[in-house]
């Protein structure tokens, strides 16, 4: 390992790519938590489902890959909303544990169903869509694949869009209101269930986007759900109800992971995000940008 030491620029690129992956996934955790106060531990599986949606749409629109991606995202938006309407809506007002465990159960169910439908074999939607994942040379001897670059760009766009939507959009403001004071929001005529469903839909859609781009970049198999779970410390480090925090948290977690894997031990890959999480919980449990009162509300 030590003889294969990578140039610093390549390390920086790796950190940027991993941070974008985590950030794009983590914003899903944040959206759902901020609006409906539920920690969605099925996010990794929902994200994987989104990637499998691409496998389905790829066979329909094999010549136009942007159309296939858009169709898969639309399906994911619908899936997220349906998950809320048919499952999570029943858990409103229950114990925190019950709601979290429902998402865990949903994740288990999805994992089984996905293997049954699409088998456990690795799939390459990029081949089905006939797009080449060319490697782009960067100054300093670093390389980045086309879809990894697209991933960084997408993350920037998604975060820009989400922040603008929550700040200025009419529905975004309603969503924030529903998250802050559900009772007052309902009295002002905001349809809480619609807001929660929208949050679940958007969260699943952004997760699916991450899953789709990872699948296009490096293939799709059962390990993707683990990536989804590893992104969740990033959301918590930044503060579970802060989008900007998720961005910074992802950067910290990704930097720690890439550097520790490279300089200490490749086996650490699975635990680094959780080590960062433990450190954060000891020092500042509510995260970098999280609201402190959240701790007593849960």
């Amino acid at each position: 390992m030590r003889s294969l030491r990578l140039p610093v620029v390549q390390l920086a690129v790796n950190i940027a790519v991993l941070a974008s992956i985590y950030a794009l996934i983590a914003c899903g955790y944040v959206l759902v938590y901020r609006v409906s106060r539920v920690l969605n531990l099925a996010h990794g599986e929902l994200m994987m489902l989104g990637a499998y949606m691409l496998v389905v749409t790829a066979s329909q629109f094999s010549s136009h890959w942007p159309v296939a991606i858009a169709a898969a995202m639309g399906l994911s938006l619908l899936t997220g909303a349906l998950v809320y309407l048919f499952l999570m809506r029943k858990m409103t007002g229950e114990m925190v544990l019950a709601a979290v465990l429902t998402t865990v159960a949903l994740g288990t169910l999805l994992r089984g169903v996905m293997v049954l439908v699409w088998s456990a074999q690795q799939q390459y939607p990029a081949q089905a869509l006939d797009v080449a994942n060319t490697s782009i040379a960067l100054p300093g001897g670093a390389r980045i694949s086309f879809f990894a670059a697209l991933l960084i760009l997408t993350t920037a766009l998604v975060y820009g869009a989400l922040l603008a939507f929550l700040r200025f959009g009419r529905w975004g403001i309603r969503m924030r209101a529903a998250g802050q004071r559900p009772l007052l929001a309902a009295q002002r005529g905001i349809d809480l269930h619609a807001m929660y469903a929208l949050a679940w839909g958007l969260s699943t859609m952004t997760g699916a986007l991450a899953g789709i781009l990872i699948a296009l970049d490096s293939g799709l198999d059962q390990t993707m759900a683990i990536v989804g779970l590893k992104a969740f410390p990033a959301a918590l480090v930044g503060g579970l109800d802060s989008l900007a925090g998720a961005l910074l948290g992802s950067l910290i977690v990704a930097a720690a992971e890439v550097l520790l894997i490279h300089y200490v031990d490749p086996l650490l890959s699975e635990v680094v995000p959780f080590l960062v999480l433990i450190a954060m919980l000891v020092v500042r449990p509510w995260g970098l940008f999280g609201t402190r009162e959240e701790l007593d509300r849960v």
């Binding site: 979290v100 429902t102 159960a105 288990t108 049954l116 779970l229 999480l277 433990i278």
Partner: protein
């Protein structure tokens, strides 16, 4: 402990009577019949049934420990598989490195579990609910990583093989012997839990579980009792892990995935939060569930086609069952059992009278 409804004519007249575990003649008789059936079972059962029973006993120990922590003290833990792994690896490492006999490794595993209980429990002094669950989840990954690291460093990449334990030249092996040993452990755990819950400690846990602020105002040392709950629960869990290692004769991190944690949490949910009977019922249900699924699939046409996908069917069905219990029957199997009992006790009436007869 919540007292359930009884047939009329049974009154408690003293505190000692209130604490008694077995109260009526009917209960004494049914307990005796149940015990005799348990003791007689290994002499009639096939090896496969014995293996199932042993698995149920092991799962019961873990589920009872988790029930103490989550169901009674109200502390959420998603690190149960990590604790089981810690116990199993303590036994495995001590056996491999210093060839320690089981009467050293089992207490050592419990000791490691207690120590980890302090580590798992420390966040609980600051964190509540969700954040506590998350911190235990993070510790799970840490413990499993350390186990994997040991396997890789020492070259046991597929797992650590443990010889059957011996006691004075007598090797413990065979389903029947294990049945009695694991059964004894499970029964002792159940008795320990029952006694803990009717002592001052158990009442303190119940108070903390119900409302921490009120518990503190009542003069209960909240921090100490929370830690104690973690320590006892973790020690029992690690012991179960070590027993599992000896029973299987093999330790590997593969066995302690996140799914194992989910299974244990499912046991207390499906069984019914806040009831020791629920923990045991849940352990039985979750342990037998995959075998039930296998049997059902086997009867379907073209079963061979699904043989490779059995684990997937298992996952999916397990998720569905968990969701059904969470949404439709939050009180779990115990809730159903109590409802049936109440139905017969109240017959021919449908509801109990408004007041007065509850106790």
């Amino acid at each position: 402990m919540s007292r359930r409804l009884r047939a009329s004519g049974h009154f408690r007249t003293g505190y000692a009577q209130d604490l008694r575990l077995v109260e009526t003649r009917g209960e004494r008789w049914s307990l005796a019949v149940f015990l005799i059936a348990l003791l007689a079972l290994p002499f009639f059962a096939s090896p496969f049934l014995l293996d199932l029973a042993c698995q149920v006993f092991l799962a019961s120990i873990g589920a009872l420990a988790l029930m103490l922590l989550t169901g009674h003290a109200g502390q959420i833990s998603l690190g149960h598989a990590g604790l089981l792994a810690a116990g199993a690896f303590t036994a495995g490492i001590l056996f491999k490195e210093v060839n320690a006999p089981f009467w050293v490794t089992l207490p050592a595993a419990a000791g490691v579990g207690a120590l980890l209980g302090v580590v798992f429990g420390l966040p609980s002094l600051r964190l509540r609910g969700l954040y506590l669950a998350v911190s235990t989840l993070a510790l799970h990954f840490l413990v499993v990583y350390l186990g994997g690291e040991y396997e890789t460093r020492r070259g046991f990449s597929t797992g650590v093989v443990i010889d059957a334990p011996t006691l004075g030249g007598w090797t413990i092996s065979g389903g029947r012997t294990w049945y009695f040993i694991l059964g004894a452990f499970a029964a002792s755990t159940l008795l320990l839990c029952l006694n803990l819950l009717r002592s001052g400690t158990g009442r303190a846990w119940a108070a903390i579980g119900a409302n921490e602020t009120v518990a503190e105002a009542l003069g209960i040392g909240v921090a100490a009792h929370k830690l104690l709950a973690f320590v006892i629960s973790s020690a029992l869990t690690a012991l179960a892990g070590a027993l599992f290692a000896y029973y299987r004769g093999f330790v590997s991190v593969e066995a302690f995935s996140l799914f194992l944690t989910i299974q244990y949490v499912a046991m207390i949910i499906i069984g019914g939060i806040g009831s020791l009977l629920g923990a045991v019922l849940g352990a039985v249900f979750v342990t037998l569930f995959p075998y039930g699924i296998e049997a059902v699939i086997g009867t379907l046409a073209g079963a061979q086609r699904y043989a490779g996908l059995l684990f997937a069917v298992n996952y999916a069905a397990f998720g569905v069952v968990m969701i059904l219990f969470l949404v439709l029957e939050p009180l779990g199997l115990v809730g159903i059992w109590r409802r049936v009992q109440t139905y017969f006790l109240l017959w021919p009436f449908r509801h109990r009278p408004m007041a007065g007869s509850r106790r």
